[in-house]
């Protein structure tokens, strides 16, 4: 388990006041909130900041954390010393927000788990109530959105057994992913949420679609982007080249004099639907390596025979 430097994560000094810590948290939480930031690691950073604040906002937890000593460095292998928390009392003031289950092993080894997660209000008695709706994420490949697919997903849900103990139940569902789904859309599965009380119907399960990051494509709404490497002669002279698309390769004509960063639109080659998205091909001009005598010779020849100054606009 790695030691976490909560002060460093919050970007505050070790002697920062509680007010300063609160301000730092508010600022970082706004910056990295996954609904606000589009950075790929925003969610991870947001959780990290939430955990750091959880430890530092409570003077008792903070004092206990400080007592661990200043010698620890972030990332160092860490085990809490025995009785490290003797004399401290965590009254379980509850978590600020977010999912307590998201906290790191490091946090849990210090402050334990179990407090704060008492949302499960189980109703007893002879009345009926519709079961709760559940939300889960399903990660699919971009290609699945083009063709449709069937995904098997495993859900874990805490349930009460006959003796009133909380047990984790696992179940697997096969779900059809319709063609044309987009990032963030939801699929509703009626009756797959929590069971109802009495004769009331079960809740629904909402599956949020998330695309697995693709090795070559980027997705924006229903449009798809591809960075296309082009040889200098293809860009300079024009060429017809084979381009992959999620629905199969196509031939694409590159005009003579194409520059790097040009976006070429392949209409309706994005995620299918009404209307269908487009596929944008962004050209990238790559440089052949000068790793042989022939290649070096060709570069020298270009240098000698082409009067080309790439910096002419810079006035030098």
């Amino acid at each position: 388990m790695d030691f976490k430097d909560y002060y460093k994560i919050m970007d505050v000094e070790k002697d920062a006041s509680q007010d300063e810590i609160k301000r730092a948290y508010r600022k970082l939480a706004r910056k990295y909130h996954p609904d606000v930031s589009k950075d790929a690691d925003a969610e991870i950073r947001f959780k990290e900041v939430g955990e750091a604040y959880e430890a530092l906002k409570d003077p008792e937890k903070r004092a206990a954390y400080d007592q661990l000593g200043a010698n620890w460095k972030a990332g160092q292998d860490f085990n809490p010393p025995p009785d490290w928390d003797a004399g401290f009392e965590f009254n379980g003031a509850g978590y600020t927000g977010g999912d307590a289950s998201d906290y790191s092993d490091f946090f849990e080894s210090l402050f334990g788990r179990g407090f704060g997660s008492a949302q499960a209000q189980h109703q007893r008695g002879g009345y009926t109530a519709r079961g709760e709706d559940h939300h889960a994420k399903v990660v699919i490949d971009l290609e699945d959105a083009y063709h449709g697919a069937t995904r098997s997903i495993t859900l874990q849900s805490p349930e009460l057994d006959n003796n009133g103990h909380v047990i984790t139940k696992q179940r697997t569902l096969n779900v059809k992913i319709p063609r044309g789904v987009k990032q963030g859309q939801r699929i509703r599965l009626t009756g797959q949420g929590s069971p109802g009380m009495g004769n009331a119907p079960a809740g629904d399960l909402y599956l949020e679609i998330e695309f697995k990051p693709h090795s070559i494509y980027r997705v924006d709404g229903h449009d798809v982007y591809l960075d296309l490497p082009v040889a200098p002669w293809e860009a300079a002279l024009g060429a017809t080249i084979k381009v992959p698309t999620p629905s199969g390769p196509v031939d694409l004509k590159i005009a003579a004099g194409t520059i790097a960063g040009r976006k070429l639109r392949l209409k309706a080659r994005g995620i299918p639907g009404k209307p269908a998205g487009d596929l944008y091909v962004v050209t990238q001009i790559t440089l052949p390596p000068a790793d042989s005598d022939t290649a070096k010779e060709l570069y020298r020849k270009m240098e000698q025979e082409l009067t080309y100054n790439p910096r002419s606009k810079l006035g030098v």
Partner: protein, 105 residues
């Protein structure tokens, strides 16, 4: 064990949700959703609450609003502003990328 394959309903722009559907899907009170409507953050079709129809992306909006309130402690008018600004950023970003295409070809 053979398992049947479940066919769900895709909640897209064409899907319509009632006030009740939306409350259930977010596990939140109708009062909270009504306040979001009063702030203009959600725009259902229909004049009376019992006849309100929300479009499918209202579900995403309402859940974003819930997270903003829970995680950042923003009040409802602040949430309405944040949602509008996030929408505006998205529109500007897609217009910007459109502009880049037209300008280069």
């Amino acid at each position: 064990m053979t398992q049947q394959t479940l066919n769900g309903i895709l909640i897209d722009e064409q899907t319509e949700l009632s006030l009740n559907d939306l409350c259930k899907a977010c596990s939140i009170s109708a009062e909270w959703i009504i306040e979001l409507v009063e702030e203009g953050a959600l725009e259902p079709i229909g004049y009376i609450q019992t006849q309100w129809r929300f479009s499918g992306n209202s579900l995403q909006r309402a859940r974003t609003a819930m997270r903003l309130q829970r995680d950042l402690g923003i009040n409802l008018s602040g949430i309405a502003l944040a949602l509008d600004l996030l929408d505006k950023i998205e529109t500007l970003e897609s217009r910007l990328s459109q502009f880049e295409i037209n300008n280069e070809s």
